[in-house]
């Protein structure tokens, strides 16, 4: 075992370490070194000046090893874990007692612990939250997120969730603000059916939630939003938000259903037109992963579909607009002309710049001359079409 003199060089350089990443699956460090760090180190913390910690582990024991690096100066934690981590709640409890983070990211294949929101209640200085795990759309999690006063950036995964689950995220949010508006559902209650609980009925049927009159104005402090999932779920989520988001990044399944795409365009313009400055629409499935099934037949051309942009009505503050989808790559001159009309502040426009154009399809109808014929370039415009 190392004695105090053996720690001299390590501790001298450990003071300089601000960011560190541990990946258990890499197997580049023996796991037995962590008990040595914990029990034999001459000082309390091996990395006392650590501010950013990225911890990727496959076993519960690997998660426990991360506790010895949860120092009071830690500002950002990125946690990636696998299935069946029963000690996640303990880890988060230790995290909350020792730190007050600015950024917290959790990606888990297993469900969140039931007391997640209670354990994380101490973390009230969070500015950036990312939760990709089963149970992330729980109403308690939504309440915790909405009550973070410094929250600026939120990332959630809505993939394979039902509409009622998505809307359940907002069930406990701000009961006095959105619900008390004259348009809200509860205000319509005359008292005749007050003793009946319609909560489950509403959840199972999504009754009345998809309408435009149920906006709650949740998370008014939010500025950047990253959502992944089906377009319909994203529509349901965006309807509940306050319209102060200026950066929206959506990872949708490609190609989207036509009516979902239409709803998505409409909701973006209705709810966020006054604040939205950057809009990115990406594919929920990575390009490489999508091409894997096709790899045996490399001669097969990629599918190309039309994605109409005419459903966007008005985005007066939008400066950056990017669409990068693998299949929905067909645009025409009318789309460009329509964007030029509804987005007067546009500066960067990218429409599937890296898409593979199929050989069996005719050449793209968008030409440089026609596209910029009707655009008023009062400011610099960068386009990738």
């Amino acid at each position: 075992m190392p004695v105090d003199a053996d720690w001299k060089h390590l501790l001298a350089h450990a003071d300089r370490v601000k960011k560190i990443t541990y990946e258990e699956g890499a197997h580049n460090v023996p796991t037995s070194i962590f008990p040595v760090f914990e029990g034999r180190c001459p000082r309390q913390w091996v990395l006392p000046n650590l501010t950013h910690l990225t911890w990727k582990c496959d076993t519960p024991a690997g998660l426990d090893r991360g506790k010895i690096f949860l120092t009071s100066g830690l500002q950002s934690l990125t946690l990636e874990i696998g299935h069946k981590f029963s000690n996640l709640s303990d880890f988060l409890a230790v995290l909350s007692t020792r730190t007050r983070l600015d950024s917290f990211s959790l990606a888990s294949l297993g469900p969140l612990p039931e007391d997640f929101s209670r354990v994380m209640a101490h973390q009230d200085l969070l500015e950036k939250v990312s939760i990709v795990a089963p149970g992330a759309l729980d109403a308690k999690v939504g309440k915790w997120v909405s009550e973070l006063p410094e929250l600026r950036s939120l990332r959630l995964d809505l993939t394979n969730q039902s509409m009622s689950n998505v809307e359940g995220f907002f069930d406990e949010i701000s009961p006095g603000s959105g619900w008390s508006s004259p348009d809200s559902e509860r205000s319509r209650d005359s008292g005749v059916f007050s003793e009946l609980d319609f909560t489950e009925v509403k959840k199972t049927t999504a009754f009345g939630r998809s309408g435009g009159d149920t906006k709650r104005g949740a998370c008014p402090q939010l500025r950047q939003l990253h959502l992944t999932g089906q377009a319909g779920n994203i529509v349901a989520f965006l309807k509940q938000l306050a319209g102060h988001v200026h950066t929206l990044e959506l990872a949708i399944e490609d190609p989207p259903e036509e009516h979902d795409w239409q709803d998505l365009c409409a909701v973006i313009c209705e709810e966020l037109s006054g604040s939205l400055r950057s809009l990115r629409i990406l594919s929920a499935t990575p390009f490489k992963q999508m091409e894997l099934p096709r790899s045996p037949g490399r001669f097969q051309d990629p599918t190309a579909r039309r994605l109409p942009l005419s459903f966007f009505s008005s985005l007066p503050r939008l400066a950056m607009f990017e669409i990068d989808l693998p299949e929905s790559v067909v645009f025409d001159n009318s789309d460009i002309a329509h964007l030029a009309t509804i987005c007067p502040a546009i500066e960067v426009l990218k429409l599937c710049p890296q898409a593979r154009w199929p050989a069996n399809l005719a050449s793209p109808s968008v030409t440089l001359v026609r596209a910029f014929n009707g655009i008023d370039c009062s400011h610099s415009l960068t386009s990738h079409v």
Partner: protein, 239 residues
């Protein structure tokens, strides 16, 4: 002249010649002391000018205040590279006169002026930009090894962000951590100092040479180098 008179005459001449030699030596010593004093002052000025160049002039004022006192009280303690400087300057003059492009290294050293070292933040930003370039870590490491003034900020930038615990763990002495020879894996494994045959015998280890203080751990299958051939030891610390 008698023999005794001749001997006295010879002794007197020898005595006079000794005195004249002594006076000559004393005079040369005095001249040498004067030269050394003047040379030390010059050397002090040249050293202070180098320091002021390296530190952006921050230490210049302090050095000029301490110069007279140091010269008067401890002239012998001041470094005297004056002969070196004279020689290099003379070589420089000769090379300049002859049109040669060769300049001694010391001339470049005295002309070097990195004022960026005077600002800690600027130095750090500069090194971070270098670190972000392709193979920037190698470049920053070379900078840290080349110049003492760059060493600390370069180390701060190099150790600021780690992709693994491997660089840290590798700082343990060689008898504790041992690198696996297979390239690409970068494995570092723990070696116990106590797992000598004598220690195993004293702790009542088993027949396979396993130390009783260190129970089996499947993550470490390491043969202790101090062990006899064929024996193994798993030095996992007890938690």
């Amino acid at each position: 002249m008698s023999f005794s008179g001749l001997a006295n005459n010879i002794n007197v001449r020898i005595q006079r010649s000794r005195e004249s030699l002594r006076s000559t030596y004393v005079q040369k010593d005095n001249n040498a002391n004067k030269d050394s004093d003047s040379g030390s002052i010059k050397s002090t000025r040249s050293t202070s000018s180098i320091i002021s160049l390296l530190t952006g002039g921050k230490l210049k004022h302090q050095k000029s205040q301490s110069e007279p006192a140091a010269t008067q009280t401890h002239p012998a303690s001041i470094p005297r590279p004056s002969h070196t400087r004279r020689r290099t300057l003379s070589v420089f003059k000769k090379s300049a006169a002859s049109g040669s492009y060769y300049h001694p290294y010391t001339v470049y050293e005295t002309n070097m002026s990195p004022p960026v070292l005077g600002d800690v933040e600027a130095t750090r930003k500069l090194l971070e930009i270098i670190h972000d370039t392709p193979s920037g870590s190698r470049t920053v490491a070379r900078l840290g090894r080349t110049c003492k003034a760059f060493n600390e900020p370069a180390m701060d930038v190099l150790w600021d962000e780690l992709d693994s615990f491997l660089p840290l763990v590798a700082l343990f002495p060689g008898y504790i951590m041992k690198r696996v020879r297979r390239p690409g894996l970068g494995l570092v494994r723990l070696v116990s100092k106590c797992c000598t045959p004598r220690h195993i015998k004293s702790t009542g280890g088993d027949d396979n040479g396993r130390c009783a203080d260190h129970p089996f751990d499947s993550t470490l299958r390491l043969r202790c180098p101090s062990m006899p051939t064929g024996s193994t030891c798993w030095p996992t610390p007890t938690v």
